[in-house]
């Protein structure tokens, strides 16, 4: 309870620190908690090939202040690097690419630590790097990669439960895939503000009912000023009560009822004024559709409630202890804990503040109940109450990533994507081009993965590698085009495509490290010709 008392005392009147000034534009997105998570992260990039997309990714993490990054790359800088990689210059030629990039990246932010391997020219011993370094929070590697390095990374990842992101950028195409250890739950998903209001008009609690009754007992006797400032929450509760009296206790249900109900509310507004109506009543009518409906669970919460926790590590995680307590709360009360926020609405200041405190008090009470359940359950004794508060506040929007099984059968994905392309084509023809859906990017993924260890493959070789794994792909026209396009790049990166991809990967890493917003699940394929992304679970 202490944190609530603190928030009610007036804030200290001091300006921002130098660091807050520098990071102001990002703190508005992920707050101090997200920033702290970034600053304690330790990232490894295993770099290879044309070598730009990974470095571009790091740039976007060094700037916002990642704790530490390490580049493992034994390539020596050549002329071709200078035409694609911004974090090298003429003086880098012939030197270790890992060292040169690290030093120029570090210039971007003196608060970030950087390191590189190997220390001397010569082959990279990745196993040794992983053994001798502090535990990595996250590893990224770029294709093409040596098979033995890939095996080393995978072994490390499964031992330390480290998320791994693979990236491949070639010509106008790229993809990246996030491999997370086990399910990844997110509480702080930052839903759009317009979606978050939860007013409980159909299942109000006694304090709210009492407050509304008190205000509207003599609604017709209120003077015009008071009448024009009754908050819309109170107006709706008042007319809902009236409606139920004339509809044998039933709430307005369905479109027709709601339209009728809207008319009932509108008739309550006074029109003997220059505006010919009242703003608070207009707000009330506008709020009907969104707020007068039976509570239903969002798909994300449903998935959390139904998820069978099987993994040892997951069993111990506080997320699941709290999730179970919330599920128990839901089954007992038929609704989730109240988030407690009240949207702005026309009202007198004091009335609004009172109404706000009624919502907050109920939210606090709900959170307290969940907290007690958590404390009484195994593993929940030492829970941080702020974690419970945050969960209760965001309960409607929690989300589970990496929970569904991977689609290991690429032939199946191929058939699905091919069918959806054919459907899109048929639709385009039927509507004379007026309605068209984007073509699948899955074939780009197939063609890029076919060059994962062989960047110089010809289009024929790419198609033959693919048809070995996915026989259905033989003769597919778009796959042939895409294979030609990948072969055209010959394993070379285009700076723009790598910069776009590096931006996307950095966004995803920030989401994973801060546990805020919702990461992709789990592969994003980018087509720089049509400027489109597609996310697939692969």
């Amino acid at each position: 309870m202490t944190e609530i008392v603190v928030s009610q005392t007036p804030p200290m009147l001091h300006g921002p620190t130098e660091k807050e000034k520098k990071y102001d534009r990002q703190l508005r997105l992920w707050a101090a908690s997200g920033q702290a998570a970034l600053e304690s992260a330790n990232i490894l990039l295993v770099n290879s090939g044309a070598g730009t997309v990974g470095v571009e990714t790091l740039k976007n993490l060094v700037l916002p202040g990642i704790g530490k990054f390490t580049i493992a790359d034994d390539a020596l800088v050549n002329e071709a690097d200078l035409g694609v990689n911004f974090f090298l210059d003429e003086s880098s030629l012939g030197r270790l690419r890992s060292e040169c990039c690290t030093k120029l990246l570090q210039e971007l932010n003196p608060e970030v630590q950087g390191d590189w391997f190997p220390k001397e020219k010569g082959p990279l011993d990745l196993a040794n790097v992983l053994e001798t370094s502090p535990i990595f929070t996250l590893i990224i590697y770029t294709n093409p990669i040596r098979k033995e390095d890939l095996a080393t990374i995978e072994a490390y990842s499964s031992q330390h439960r480290t998320p791994v992101i693979s990236i491949h950028s070639a010509g106008f195409y790229s993809y990246f895939r996030i491999a997370l250890p086990g399910t990844f739950p997110i509480v702080d998903t930052h839903p759009e503000v317009e979606k978050t209001a939860d007013l409980r008009l159909l299942n109000p609690w006694p304090e709210l009912v009492e407050f509304a009754k008190e205000m509207t007992r003599n609604i017709d006797a209120l003077d015009d000023h008071e009448h024009g400032h009754v908050p819309y929450v109170v107006i709706l509760l008042h007319y809902l009560e009236q409606w139920r009296q004339s509809h044998s206790g039933e709430n307005p249900n369905g479109f027709k009822d709601k339209t009728e109900f809207g008319k009932l509310v509108t008739r309550g507004a006074r029109t003997n004024n220059p505006e010919g109506g009242e703003e608070n009543f207009q707000e009330a009518v506008a709020a009907i559709n969104k707020n007068i409906k039976a509570p239903e669970l969002e798909a994300g919460v449903e998935e959390v409630f139904n998820h069978q926790v099987s993994d040892e590590a997951e069993l111990e995680s506080m997320f699941w202890v709290i999730a179970r307590a919330i599920k128990q709360f839901y089954h007992k009360h038929g609704c989730l804990p109240l988030p407690g926020a009240l949207p702005d609405m026309k009202a007198q200041s004091s009335v609004y503040v009172k109404l706000q405190s009624i919502y907050k008090a109920k939210a606090r009470k709900d959170a307290q109940e969940v907290l007690e359940t958590v404390r009484a359950s195994p593993g929940g004794k030492d829970v941080d109450p702020t974690e419970v508060d945050l969960f209760c506040k965001n309960a409607r929007f929690v989300k589970l990533i990496n929970a569904k099984p991977r689609q290991l059968n690429l032939s199946q994905v191929f058939d699905t994507e091919k069918a959806s392309d054919e459907e899109a084509e048929a639709m385009k023809v039927a509507t004379c081009g007026a309605f068209s859906l984007p073509a699948s990017n899955f074939f780009i993924y197939l063609a890029l993965t076919a060059t994962a260890h062989n960047p110089a493959a010809t289009a024929e070789e790419i198609v033959s590698t693919i048809t070995n794994a996915v026989p259905e792909a033989a003769g597919h026209e778009r796959l042939w085009q895409v294979a030609q396009e990948v072969a055209r790049a010959g394993g070379g990166e285009l700076h723009n495509i790598s910069a776009i991809t590096g931006g996307m990967v950095a966004q995803e890493m920030i989401k994973i490290i801060t546990k805020q917003y919702i990461p992709i699940d789990d592969t994003c394929i980018f087509d720089g010709i049509s400027s489109r992304c597609q996310v697939l679970r692969l």
Binding site: D24, A50, E56, E79, F86, R488, H495, S531
Partner: protein, 429 residues
């Protein structure tokens, strides 16, 4: 077809040249002869804005082998730029963005010439803009976008192909952003798509003055009312921490008086300066997407956005989602259209109410409109003598007092867009 350069070891542009010199399945008819490719060497490209997007754009263009780049920006470097404007360091705070950014990229990527212009886009005339082949914008102001758009549309001379300058425009907010490509007069222009930006409705003054409910109301009260009454400093400088601290303290006191919580220094600054969250990664995505289009247009290495889909929207806060749209040109677009827009009004409205409504209309967004109807001046913002003469009209009603009627032609101008004339045909509700 076969290249002989392979024996001399890797060349600087070998990755790019694989794409430039070998047509792919989606640009089979492209001319990849030396002469066609040399055109890119000679291309002059203009970057507007050297901020979050601008820094990235300069890097991306240089590494796309554009050799003659100009950049315009009037701003100087602030400490809050350093989390994403990666060409600037702590020691650069206070210097001109365009100058520092240009010097940095020129030094890093040898063979690139970058000319900096520390000034406003409005300081340059048609002759200046005519020298470029492509314009790439990384701006945070809608007004500046509208200005350059109008300039580039007006410059098009149907007899002279070179007068048509493709305009590539990027914008970001938090994890989201957009890229669009405009071929002035041929494809929908920025003014045609103006209604994509919804103007923010201001909080009514009476709420601020008498019934604040939100921390933002207290801050706006300090900003609009308390500051004007008390004038603690001669002019409000939104970048001066002392001024923001004054507003913050006023807002805090007012919030306490009304029992409202949530006023912080950061929120005060955010509301007063209308701060949009910005991060390096989103800028990287959008800037590179713009430059990818520039490269495709300059080299025909792949089909570019523009004539079919012209607009790419990126959203990264809930998974990753992109969509590309095809917009239609608006025949009544003020900038690139040929017919007057319909204007439907309440005949009992006063002229002032009509003018105020222009600020919030999504397809207009005019803050200082002057208005004429049927050749008669109804209200002019400038010069002061005419303003004074026409001011009494503001309180008059449109039909009864001013004699406006259905079918009348109404002409509106605004000093922010000196080259634009907004023409309307009046109708009544």
């Amino acid at each position: 077809m076969a290249t002989t350069a392979a024996s001399t070891g890797p060349s600087r542009w070998q990755y790019l040249d694989k794409i430039r010199r070998n047509p792919g399945p989606f640009n089979q008819d492209s001319d990849v002869g030396d002469e066609a490719l040399a055109a890119q060497d000679k291309a002059k490209i203009l970057v507007i804005g050297a901020g979050g997007l601008g820094c990235e754009i300069l890097k991306d263009l240089a590494l796309s082998r554009f050799k003659d780049i100009h950049v315009i920006d009037m701003d100087t470097i602030d400490i809050s730029n350093l989390n994403r404007q990666f060409l600037f360091r702590q020691d650069d705070v206070g210097k001109f963005k365009a100058e520092v950014a240009a010097a940095f990229v020129e030094k890093r990527v040898k063979g690139t010439k970058i000319t900096a212009h520390n000034g406003r886009i409005q300081d340059f005339n048609e002759d200046f803009y005519m020298q470029f082949q492509i314009v790439v914008c990384g701006l945070d102001s809608i007004e500046a976008r509208r200005w350059i758009n109008a300039m580039l549309v007006n410059m098009v001379d149907m007899e002279d192909q070179d007068s048509l300058k493709p305009l590539i425009d990027g914008g970001t907010e938090g994890f989201k952003g957009q890229t669009r490509v405009i071929f002035p007069t041929l494809t929908p222009c920025i003014e045609c798509q103006l209604d994509l930006y919804t103007p923010r409705a201001a909080v009514p003054l009476c709420t601020l003055a008498t019934i604040p409910r939100q921390p933002e109301h207290c801050i706006e009260w300090a900003h609009i009312i308390a500051w004007e009454e008390q004038k603690p400093f001669p002019n409000l400088d939104k970048d001066d921490p002392e001024h923001i601290t004054w507003l913050y303290q006023k807002a805090s006191a007012r919030a306490q008086e009304f029992g409202i919580s949530g006023v912080t220094y950061s929120l005060t600054q955010g509301v007063v300066k209308n701060i949009i969250p910005a991060i390096a990664s989103t800028n990287a995505i959008i800037a590179a997407s713009c430059c990818n289009e520039a490269l495709k247009i300059a080299t025909t290495a792949a089909p570019a956005l523009g004539f079919e889909e012209s607009y790419m929207m990126y959203s990264g806060d809930d998974s990753i989602y992109t969509s590309t749209f095809k917009y239609d040109k608006k025949p009544d677009c003020t900038v690139c259209g040929e017919v007057a827009k319909p204007l439907q009004v309440d005949p009992k409205m006063t002229l002032k109410e009509l003018l105020d409504s222009f600020a919030l209309k999504a397809d207009l967004q005019l803050k200082k409109p002057s208005i004429r109807a049927e050749g008669k001046t109804l209200y002019m913002q400038f010069p002061p003598s005419i303003e004074e003469q026409t001011r009494p009209n503001l309180e008059k009603t449109l039909q009864q007092d001013l004699g406006l009627d259905v079918g009348h032609e109404v002409v509106v101008t605004d000093p922010a867009f000196p080259t634009l004339t907004f023409r309307f045909i009046l109708s009544f509700v």
